[in-house]
């Protein structure tokens, strides 16, 4: 181990050790498999000034999980979780569409803008409710947000009076179905929002402060971090993003189906966050991973149909991919991998093996966030201090 691994090997190890290696590899493998199973899968053509094709569909369908996961990721970074996002989607869409339904002219852009804003405001309200429970009352996030997960759909049903409200409003519909610069409008909105949030979080110190809160809330507080208000804000942000996701998701069909919109999407969002390399315990988070995670999730669901598998196997397929990825990314599997490569030096313990995925030559050189993560402590003796809002 003292010997410096040669350049290419070291590079390869670093790539394999990267948190996003396995998700990305899975994504690429799936896409290639789809292209083989169904020639033309990767084709993108231009029709009526807009790009069309399966990859574009995938992008568009990834926007909703991406937006949800974006909020979720920040919440998770603070050591929390938000189970209410699926319900929020339903509520915001219900509010927007019910408003449009009652409006005299649902095609009026101002009316549509008002509807959207109303939906978003609802997201803020829900987020504020969650945030208050978590920060002011100190309720455990899982339970705090589970309240609205359960009740939220009921509230959405109250708003729609149990009906599936449908409206016709081309400008609203365009939010999810139109296209800008050849790209679906939803994708553009998603990209802009993602970039904005990523910029705000990573270009300011917000990201690090969130991580500090997530790793050790009390330390952060004593160091002067506004742990409460920051956490609260993050829940609000998650609420808004979920509301936006709901509007974008529901816009193409314009039907406020309170029962089914966003059902189980909170789980999808969490899966996306995890696929993206962020741990559920809080602390370190990786926004770029969300894009890969969202695309992967969408592709998995699509691949089942492309491979012409019966729908009954969708869940099995999902489970298989998820388990395979988790196992592949685990320190133990990395240990196996590394021990096969460096069979001569033969480190016996997984901890040590995980070490070898790091270039041991330059301890300070490998300073990217992900590599310092990869080099984090051996699994067993880890001494994470975890403060949970309890």
């Amino acid at each position: 181990m003292s010997a410096t691994p040669s350049g290419t090997v070291g590079w390869a190890r670093r790539v394999v050790g990267h948190t996003l290696f396995w998700p990305t590899a899975a994504l690429v493998a799936l896409l290639v498999a789809c292209a083989v199973a169904s020639p033309g899968f990767l084709d993108i053509t231009v029709r009526e000034g807009a790009l069309v094709g399966q990859p574009i569909d995938l992008l568009r369908n990834s926007v909703t999980p991406l937006l949800l996961a974006l909020g979720m990721c920040l919440v998770i970074a603070t050591g929390g979780i938000d189970l209410s996002v699926g319900a929020v989607m339903a509520i915001s869409l219900a509010v927007s569409l019910t408003y449009l339904d009652g409006a005299t002219d649902p095609t009026n852009p101002v009316t549509v803008a008002t509807a959207v804003v109303l939906g978003l405001v609802l997201g803020v309200a829900v987020g504020a409710f969650n945030g208050t429970l978590v920060t002011v009352l100190g309720v455990q996030p899982f339970i705090a947000t589970m309240i609205l997960m359960v009740a939220g759909r009921g509230i959405a049903m109250l708003i729609t009076k149990g009906q599936i409200t449908t409206v016709t409003s081309p400008p609203f519909k365009a939010l999810g179905a139109g296209s800008v610069l050849g790209l679906p409008q939803a994708v553009v909105i998603g990209a802009v929002v993602f970039a904005l949030v990523a910029l705000v979080v990573r270009r300011t110190a917000l990201g690090v402060l969130l991580e500090a809160i997530g790793v050790n809330r009390e330390s952060a507080r004593l160091s002067g971090v506004r742990a409460r208000s920051t956490t609260w804000t993050v829940y609000v942000l998650a609420g808004v993003l979920a509301a936006l996701a709901g509007i974008i998701y529901g816009a193409p069909t314009m039907a406020a189906d309170a029962n089914n919109i966003g059902l189980f999407f909170e789980l999808n969002a969490i899966v996306v966050v995890v696929l993206g390399g962020t741990k559920l315990d809080g602390g370190r988070f990786y926004l770029s991973g969300l894009v890969v995670g969202a695309l992967l999730l969408t592709t998995i669901e699509r691949a089942v149909i492309i491979f012409q598998l019966p729908s009954t196997t969708t869940n099995l397929f999902k489970a298989a991919v998820l388990i395979a990825l988790c196992v592949a990314a685990s320190p133990r599997a990395r240990g196996w991998l590394a021990s096969r490569r460096t069979a001569s030096s033969g480190p016996r313990r997984p901890e040590a093996a995980a070490t070898t995925t790091q270039p041991s030559s330059s301890p300070s050189g490998a300073s990217t966030a992900s590599s310092s993560r990869a080099s984090s402590a051996p699994p067993r003796p880890s001494t994470t201090t975890r403060e949970v809002g309890a």
Binding site: F41, Q54, A177, N259
Partner: protein, 302 residues
């Protein structure tokens, strides 16, 4: 060991003010069709029509429904009506109801049970027949169609029966299936993928209108014409579905009529009075093709 130490003494017609107390267990509120059905039931079993209704939504869970039924027995209602979430698994509770001497009206779907005479009568649509009707239309009008089937939530009664009815007629023409969970959005994504996976498809059979409307989106986005390039056969006939039919985006819609609350009310009155009722009451349901007029659509209550 049996459990039929009966308390036959349970009687009917107890309500002091003469109102018939009805315990109604709805299976859920999972679709527009279902909520329309609920609405209809509630509008027809009102106090001024002589009913005292306890309505419980099972949220598509059998255990909730069993609980509700047990509770109806505990409340000692006059008549129990319910639309079962699934066909099987009702033996015990039906036996209990029978022991308590409360008449049962089955709504919508039927049950598969060992209890003898488990219910007095059944009223509802026949999902399987709906599938068959759709299949018959396809057989006559598009015998060469290559069909992609958009399934409802896997395991739901409507999905299982409609698929069975349809496949019995034209199953050989079905080239692929995928579930859209009865929702528009998932109907759309499933169709998007299907258009790629089954390029030679010429028809979609969808288990409800909502998914069909999602399919329309996907087909249009792919630059094809729904109703022409790819025909759509659907079940339900909610207003949006019929509108699509008028707009020539759907080709055929089998009605699944949820508004049979009035029929139900009549039945319950008769059952309570101890009159003879037929074992089966089939809800009147029609089918629509593209000859439908806008006026018909506008008159549609749901």
């Amino acid at each position: 060991g049996g459990s039929s130490t009966g308390d036959e003494g349970a009687q009917a017609g107890s309500g002091g003010d003469g109102a018939i107390t009805v315990g109604y267990s709805q299976l859920g509120a999972e679709s527009g069709w279902r909520t329309a059905n609920t609405e209809s039931v509630k509008q027809n079993l009102t106090a001024d029509k002589g009913f005292k209704l306890t309505f419980v939504d099972a949220q598509q869970k059998q255990e909730n429904q069993i609980k509700a039924l047990r509770d109806f027995v505990a409340q000692d209602v006059d008549v129990i009506a319910f639309s079962p979430v699934v066909e099987t698994g009702w033996d015990d509770v039906l036996q209990e109801i029978k022991d308590a001497g409360i008449p049962v009206v089955l709504v919508d779907r039927t049950v598969d049970t060992k209890v003898s005479d488990p219910f007095v009568t059944h009223i509802g649509s026949d999902f399987k027949a709906e599938g068959t009707k759709a299949g018959d239309w396809v057989k006559q009008n598009a015998p060469d169609a290559k069909i992609f089937e958009l399934q409802g939530t896997l395991g739901s009664g409507a999905q299982v029966d409609r698929e069975e009815g349809f496949d019995a007629v034209v199953g050989s023409q079905v080239i692929g299936k995928a579930s859209g969970n009865f929702t528009r959005a998932e109907g759309r994504t499933a169709t998007e993928a299907a258009l790629q996976a089954y390029p030679d498809m010429t028809m979609i059979f969808t288990h409800n209108d909502d998914m069909g409307l999602g399919a329309v989106e996907a087909i249009e986005a792919a630059g094809k014409k729904p109703g022409t390039d790819i025909q759509i056969v659907s079940v339900d006939a909610v207003r949006d579905g019929l509108q699509a039919l008028v707009d020539k985006k759907f080709n055929y819609v089998v009605e699944c009529n949820p508004a049979f609350g009035d029929q139900l009310a009549e039945l319950i009155k008769k059952v309570h009075a101890g009159e003879d009722v037929p074992k089966e009451t089939v809800v009147e349901e029609t089918t629509f093709d593209q000859t439908i007029t806008q006026a018909q659509v506008d008159a549609r209550p749901y």
